[in-house]
């Protein structure tokens, strides 16, 4: 029934020759509930003819939903807004993404969107070190986590269940001089990888652990509410996930999907991201309160295509290294 109505709407919109995008847009996202609602509300305010039906879940689960729909033969989503670029590379390799060469990417660093314009990063979510104010010392470098004073006191998200954590692992092992031995040293220092960023925050602010690897916005947001935590951008640099948006090749409402991508990359959309507490991708939008200057944040590079190809081996290597 809904499909008949949708088809009628699309037909009406093309027959009427309307140039504005209309109808229903189906969005699958891994943003938290409140952020997704704010993003969608801001978009619908700027595009009154479009109604967004959105669903959120962690990236692995939302991808499982998408793949089940593909297996059943009728993928439902028009546009995806998920955590990391490696997952997008995977979808691009399967041929699931629609290229959007006319996307308005002025003001955004070319490294932040796909060269074939199939996906576009919308934010910069970096991973650094969080520490409890009762910690025995203030960490300034990734190597500080190997210190004996930090033994048994380190929490980190597990790359086995979180794509963002895997990107962090790949970035550190690719940029730190000792490579995978860094994680071996952490394992000897009693570090345990478990869960996601929310779990790390709980462990560190609750005092069960005193140091953690975590995304930037969480401790900055919670510190403002009074939590006993501080966030540090280590001096070697930080890894980043960039929350890319992409249009699916099977999208039923491509016009509305393109309008959504344009909104996210526009100054208005980027200011919404900053208001939610994230570092926006556009260089001309100010960072939210609690962050240092954009120029002082050093983002370390990694090879997304290699991360995708070596995912299974990296996971096995991580398990092996951490269970010593």
């Amino acid at each position: 029934m809904r499909q008949i109505v949708l088809a009628a709407l699309l037909l009406a919109s093309t027959v009427a020759g309307a140039s504005a995008a209309q109808g229903t847009l189906v969005l699958y996202t891994s943003q938290p509930n409140t952020d997704a609602q704010q993003t969608v509300d801001a978009f619908m305010a700027k595009n009154p003819g479009i109604k967004v039906d959105w669903v959120r879940d962690g990236t692995p689960k939302i991808l499982a939903k998408l793949h089940a729909e593909i297996e059943a033969g009728q993928p439902q989503a028009d546009v995806l807004l998920i955590a990391d670029v490696v997952t997008m590379e995977g979808l691009k390799k399967e041929g699931r993404l629609l290229a959007y060469p006319e996307a308005k990417v002025e003001g955004i660093d070319a490294a932040l969107y796909d060269k074939d314009k199939t996906y576009f990063s919308t934010k910069l979510i970096t991973t650094g070190i969080v520490y409890n104010t009762k910690a025995p010392f203030t960490p300034t470098s990734w190597e500080d986590l190997k210190k004996p004073e930090a033994k048994g006191l380190i929490a980190m998200p597990s790359p086995l269940t979180s794509g963002a954590a895997m990107i962090h692992t790949v970035t550190l092992t690719g940029n730190l001089p000792e490579g995978w031995s860094y994680y071996g040293a952490l394992a000897k220092n009693g570090a345990q990888a478990s869960g996601g960023n929310g779990d790390v925050l709980k462990a560190v602010s609750g005092g069960d652990k005193l140091f953690g690897m975590i995304v930037d916005y969480m401790p900055i947001r919670e510190k403002a509410k009074g939590a006993p935590v501080e966030f540090v951008f280590p001096k070697e640099g930080v890894s980043a996930v960039t929350e890319p948006v992409a249009i699916l090749s099977t999208a039923k409402n491509q016009e509305a999907a393109k309008a959504f991508v344009d909104f996210l990359l526009s100054k208005d959309g980027q200011e919404v991201a900053a208001k939610m507490g994230y570092i926006p991708a556009r260089a001309d939008v100010a960072l939210p309160a609690g962050y240092p200057d954009r120029s002082s944040i050093k983002v370390l590079d990694y090879d997304a295509a290699a991360a995708l190809a070596n995912d299974a081996q990296n996971k096995e290597k991580f398990s092996a290294v951490m269970s010593q």
């Binding site: 029934m1 809904r2 499909q3 938290p32 509930n33 409140t34 952020d35 609602q37 039906d53 959105w54 669903v55 959120r56 879940d57 990236t59 689960k61 499982a64 939903k65 793949h67 089940a68 729909e69 297996e71 059943a72 033969g73 009728q74 439902q76 490696v86 997952t87 995977g90 399967e94 033994k151 048994g152 006191l153 597990s158 086995l160 269940t161 009693g190 345990q192 478990s194 869960g195 996601g196 960023n197 929310g198 925050l201 709980k202 560190v204 602010s205 609750g206 005092g207 069960d208 652990k209 969480m218 947001r221 919670e222 509410k225 009074g226 939590a227 006993p228 995708l308 995912d311 269970s323």
Partner: protein, 577 residues
């Protein structure tokens, strides 16, 4: 149909199908039951097996066998069996004494104890696990008060196999309690009094008379606890994954975050393995139920006086409830009253900002409450009413058929919720004839819940129906009552305690259920579990705690309303009366 039921040849015979007539009511009802079980339990499993063996349409048995025989899968399978078995044993040890105390003794405060023992089912397994982890960790307030808090950096004793078994026992004790309670409330007074008057001591009576009579309930309770342990995700996720102790559900969760087209067949294959484990539980059940069952006429339940042991046993009971329920609940409450996780609770830091944020400012929370109430309530009502005629018809099947069907009904409950959701997507995405597409509607969540929780309602009711004496039914049939009348006036009232128990189990499990609805919810139809988990993932633990506390309050209010309504029901129908 009524006339064929009245002829003597159509009366139920022990074992096998009754035979008269070309197509009798017997055959039709048998077909109906088989159809319901096929759609609700066999269909999702069959679709999963198809996805495991023939992804994308091409059969690949070698890859399937390879996935099942991988060392990681075998190790996880062993861990699953191990923890589920001992967890069920511990749950039996915890739940049965409570059931006996509440039903058959004069323990002071037993009604409140019985009421409170239902509530741990309302606290999500992850929350229980986190509360216990916290309890034994360096920041534990309780241990801090006793001066026993471990230094930061020491390993937490709750992590690993021991902690998982302990928490399985704690988490599943209410399931055992509810099931045993339904059975114990039907042990008639005269049996017990006859034994007492011959000089038997209370423990001897329990051992030689009561427990043998309720043996089917013990087995049903143990079976439910076992399959709950096999399918449990939250506890091994928090206690096992950090130390790389994986069970099948957590292994499946890990595989979920891999890339590429191999993910779906991989998790489908592992889910087939989980289903196979659940069926082993069925084998244990058959072994335990060997020998004749007992059919008893219901009477007033028996009562023991505890004498000098009243106070010590009451204290022991409250201590256990304190550990299982009150500690995690207080931890939740304390968390919900601070502005951010880690801020110590004090008169200056306490705030209700979390409650106003989630209940007033976020429209999704109120929507989620409404949706969860509708879905859980709808599923509970449908299942509690629907399983009574199902159990009546099933009871006339051959013993082996009954065991097999019981095992099949267990399957959607044991496989991880996310996998059942995927099976539902594969089955219901395309439009069905006449009904259209169920996908992205409320109906798909209801159907998924019916599939998942059927066993929770069927087991207690099937046990109850199996204990109703046949002569009641036969006498009514001879007097001219048709099958529906007999169902309504004889079977249903006698099976009512078990049906209410089953309905409550379904409601409690479905109300804050997460994994199934996570993949099936669509715009505007989010459930409480989805909203809560989203807040946890976003690092907003205090807001998640506020929702969890509100959920418990809502359920307590509902149970109190049920209690008010239940004053007019006979004793034993509500688990705490």
């Amino acid at each position: 149909m009524a006339s064929s039921e009245n002829s003597t040849a159509a009366l139920p015979r022990p074992g096998g199908f009754a035979s008269p007539g070309p197509i009798s009511g017997q055959h039709l009802s048998a077909l109906a039951v088989l159809l319901v079980i096929a759609v609700l339990s066999l269909l999702p499993m069959a679709r999963l097996v198809l996805a495991a063996i023939a992804p994308g349409g091409e059969a690949d048995f070698a890859a399937f066998a390879g996935r099942l025989a991988s060392p990681a899968a075998l190790k996880a399978m062993w861990h699953t069996l191990d923890t589920a078995f001992f967890g069920a044993l511990l749950a039996l040890c915890l739940g049965t004494p409570f059931a006996v105390a509440v039903t058959m003794t004069d323990l002071p405060g037993r009604k409140i104890l019985g009421f409170l023992l239902l509530l741990p089912l309302m606290i999500a397994p992850q929350v229980t696990a986190l509360a216990w982890l916290h309890l034994f960790g360096p920041s534990s307030t309780l241990l801090g008060m006793l001066g026993l808090a471990p230094a930061p950096g020491t390993g937490n004793p709750m992590l690993g196999r021991g902690g998982i078994i302990l928490l399985y026992g704690v988490q599943h004790a209410p399931i055992v309690f509810i099931t045993m309670r339904a059975g114990l409330s039907r042990v008639p007074r005269d049996l017990v009094e006859a034994a007492r008057s011959c000089g038997a001591r209370p423990l001897g009576v329990l051992r030689t008379i009561v427990l043998p009579v309720v043996r089917p309930y013990v087995v049903a309770a143990a079976a439910l606890a076992f399959v709950s342990g096999v399918g449990n995700f939250g506890i091994p996720a928090l206690l096992g994954m950090p130390v790389n102790y994986l069970t099948l559900p957590t292994l499946i969760y890990q595989d979920l975050s891999s890339f590429g087209p191999g993910v779906l067949p991989q998790i489908a294959a592992l889910s087939v393995l989980v289903g196979a484990l659940a069926l082993t539980g069925m084998v244990f059940q058959s072994l335990a139920l060997r020998g004749a069952g007992h059919r008893i006429v219901a009477g007033t339940p028996a009562q023991f006086e505890l004498g000098r042991l009243r106070m010590p046993l009451a204290c022991a009971g409250w201590l256990v409830i304190g550990l299982i329920l009150i500690l995690p609940a207080c931890a939740l409450l304390a968390t919900s009253l601070v502005p951010s996780f880690g801020v110590p609770l004090g008169p200056r830091t306490a705030t209700i900002a979390n409650y106003t944020e989630v209940l007033v400012r976020q429209a999704s929370t109120v929507r989620a409450f409404r949706n969860s109430l509708l879905f859980a309530g709808g599923a509970a009502l449908m299942l509690a009413l629907g399983v009574i005629p199902m159990a009546v018809r099933l009871e006339r099947f051959d013993k082996h058929w009954r065991r097999l069907l019981g095992g099949i009904v267990d399957l959607p409950y044991t496989i991880p919720g996310v996998v059942l959701a995927i099976a539902c997507i594969l089955l219901f995405l395309r439009p069905l004839p006449l009904i259209g597409s169920l996908y992205a509607t409320a109906s798909i969540i209801l159907v998924a819940y019916a599939m998942r929780f059927l066993t929770l309602a069927l087991k207690p009711v099937a046990t109850a129906v199996g204990q109703i004496p046949r002569d009641l039914d036969e006498a009514a049939a001879v007097s001219g009552a048709g099958p529906f009348r007999r169902l309504r006036t004889i079977t249903a009232p006698l099976a009512a305690p078990a049906a209410v128990a089953g309905g409550l189990l379904v409601f409690m499990s479905a109300f804050n259920e997460l994994t199934v609805s996570a993949l099936l919810w669509s715009s505007g139809k989010e459930t409480l579990g989805v909203v809560l988990f989203s807040l946890e993932e976003a690092g907003l633990g205090t807001q998640a705690a506020a929702i969890a506390v509100s959920t418990i309050v809502v359920v307590i209010v509902l149970l109190l309303a049920l209690d008010r309504f239940g004053r007019r029901l006979p004793a034993g129908v509500l688990p705490w009366r």
